[in-house]
């Protein structure tokens, strides 16, 4: 599955050199197509068709996030965004003072490239074309809701398409993929959400394991995963704008997983109307 890489040009900072190295590896070893940030900025029409047809991954060197901002400015929606400086910090790697990368940093670049390839291809690089097509799934937007009214509050719950665990976390399944997020009831209890700490890409999660946390002005909420699987994507949009969970809890997914035990997991989840009954009971007890 070919995809697009929009990378920081990485001219004058070591973090940028890593971003550039990642892009080169993905182009040479995974067949990704590099999008020139300068051309995209000046002549976006040149990439219009490719952006419409292929997945886009953004690799930025530093927190300036030129690539991410550029993608947003042309209306592109990356499936994955990486900020190298954050990954360097997390890995404890020391960058050289100059722009030439040593073996330790090159190894980190390789790991970042592997992770990106996993997300961009849905882990299907080793599978057949038929399977690859099957992993390109669409998640439906919730349109029909059950509304639970309690005092001055209204809690919306999608009637169909979403399942819930007892921990107020929803899951939406399409093919062998699932997206998880927190319910309207829980986001209202948390109030203003200020930070999302997503799970790590590539992490293996069992049902009821923690899959990240959501912090608000009132509390920190552990996202208890409703399903077992491997984390293949995180939603950078909620990382960048945590308040989007308050605004659209069922559109603002936190993590995407490749399912590993769906049939077993399914038995411990409830549908929208059943969860609405739970919410009614919880609200009365609050």
């Amino acid at each position: 599955m070919s995809y697009l890489i929009l990378a920081c040009t990485g001219l004058d900072k070591p973090e940028g050199s890593v971003a550039r190295e990642v892009a080169l590896r993905l182009a040479e070893e995974a067949g990704a197509e590099i999008v020139c940030p300068v051309s995209l900025n000046r002549t976006p029409a040149r990439y219009k068709r490719a952006l419409a047809e292929k997945r886009l991954v953004v690799v930025d060197g530093c927190a300036t996030q030129c690539g991410g901002k550029l993608a947003a400015s042309v209306g592109a929606k990356p499936v994955h965004k990486v900020v190298v400086s954050r990954m360097i910090k997390e890995s404890g790697t020391t960058l050289p003072p100059d722009l030439r990368l040593g073996s330790e940093v090159l190894e980190l670049a390789r790991r970042i490239a592997d992770e990106i390839d996993l997300v961009a291809t849905g882990g299907s690089r080793e599978t057949t074309g038929e399977t690859q097509a099957a992993t390109r799934v669409e998640f439906q937007v919730a349109s029909d809701f059950v509304v639970v009214v309690h005092d001055k509050y209204e809690f919306r719950i999608p009637s169909t398409g979403y399942l819930f665990n007892a921990n107020d976390v929803w899951v939406q399944v399409a093919g062998n993929r699932a997206r998880i997020g927190i319910s309207d009831y829980m986001q209202q209890r948390l109030s203003d959400i200020t930070y999302v700490n997503p799970p790590k890409i590539g992490a293996s999660v069992d049902q009821f394991d923690e899959a990240g946390t959501v912090e608000s002005t009132k509390a920190t909420f552990e996202v208890v995963s409703p399903v077992s699987g491997t984390v293949v994507g995180i939603n950078d949009a909620v990382f960048d704008a945590p308040e989007s969970i308050n605004e659209d809890p069922y559109g603002s997914w936190v993590a995407e997983l490749e399912l590993t035990a769906w049939e077993e997991d399914r038995a411990l989840l409830v549908n929208g109307p059943a969860y609405a009954a739970d919410v009614e009971r919880k609200a009365a007890e609050d």
Binding site: L11, L24, V38, N41, L70, D98, L99
Partner: protein, 139 residues
Amino acid sequence: MEKERDTVLVMPCSGVGKVHGLISREAAYLAVDELAPRTLDLVCLALLVREDEETLAKVKAYPCITIDGCGKACAQKNVEIAGGQVATAFQVAKALSKQRATQPGTGSELTEDGWMVTREIAEAVAEEVDRRCAYKEVT
């Protein structure tokens, strides 16, 4: 103050993944790191097109030598669009053609031919810096 007066910028094209872009970048590094380290200041084209304030201010304040990979001349054009002064504009494609260097390498690795052209461009950049600084001293 002396250093500030003699500052000249060098801006290669972004060119990730193409040999022309790699040569422009390596030529800029060579010029900045080895041939004219006290005078040359490296500036990033992507930051300029994103209208980064610091980069815009530099480009407006100092003459800029651009090293473009190909005839699209992204670096040269964008310096001009930003209201900067292009001191000299180099193009890797022309240099390769002039040297008949048909096998310069790939987007990630240069051959001997590629490095030869890289050094020639870097030396030409350094000569331009010398010329401009000498001119300043006379005037």
